[in-house]
Amino acid sequence: MNKYRVKAFGITKDLLGGRETFIETQGQTVADLRAALHSRFPELSGLRSLFIAVNNDYADDEILLKPSDEIALIPPVSGG
């Protein structure tokens, strides 16, 4: 199992119940992490969109995660 520390902002902070959560997955891609997140927090599927950021950049699903990566959930942004 791989264990990743995930930061949560905006509505995801409410849905995950905190600013940071540890997520365990079999796989090592962003897609694997996304699947694990959705199975543990089904309410995430109610969002209009959900991006995953790795090291301060939007990450595609096939990106491989390292334990040292800074990972964050990016629900629909609404700055301005």
């Binding site: 902002f9 905006g10 969002l47 209009r48 950021a53 950049d57 964050a72 990016i74 301005g80």
Partner: protein, 142 residues
């Protein structure tokens, strides 16, 4: 200058920052908190940012804008924390030699900041609160 700040934004200071003796034009966009949303009274907003990523995304936006327009100066300042109606949430300012470029570049930057920068706002009403645009239903209600 890119700034994510809890303090109120001084627009004059930002204009001074971007002004230049070779720039004839400065365009400034100021976003302010409205007192209504979906017909309801807004008591206040709560802004939150993923600060390191917001700064790095805004830096990329500025880089892109610099390729497209002859920017002589630029500044993006975004407020976070609790904001009341009427308060300034964001200021974008650019200076260019000629005015058309200043309008185009400033609009590109604020449009991009609003779609790319990881910043969120929660509207607080008398009867509840809501993360803006988070859920599809909110779109339909608007």
């Amino acid at each position: 200058m890119i700034k994510i700040t809890e303090k109120s934004i001084d627009v004059q200071k930002i204009i001074d920052t971007v002004s230049s003796l070779s720039a004839g034009a400065v365009n400034v966009f100021v976003g302010t908190v409205r007192n209504k949303a979906n017909g309801k009274n807004v008591l206040w907003l709560e802004y939150e940012a993923y600060e390191t990523m917001a700064v790095s995304q805004i830096r990329k936006i500025i880089e892109e804008a610099s390729h497209r327009w002859p920017l002589l100066g630029w500044a993006v300042s975004h407020r976070i924390g609790t904001l009341k109606p009427g308060e300034t949430s964001v200021v974008v300012a650019v200076s260019t030699p000629h005015r058309k470029d200043s309008f185009e570049a400033c609009q590109f930057i604020i449009d991009s900041v609003k779609t790319m920068a990881p910043i969120w706002k929660k509207e607080v009403f008398e009867d509840g609160e809501e993360w803006v645009s988070a859920r599809p239903e909110i779109e339909m209600r608007a």
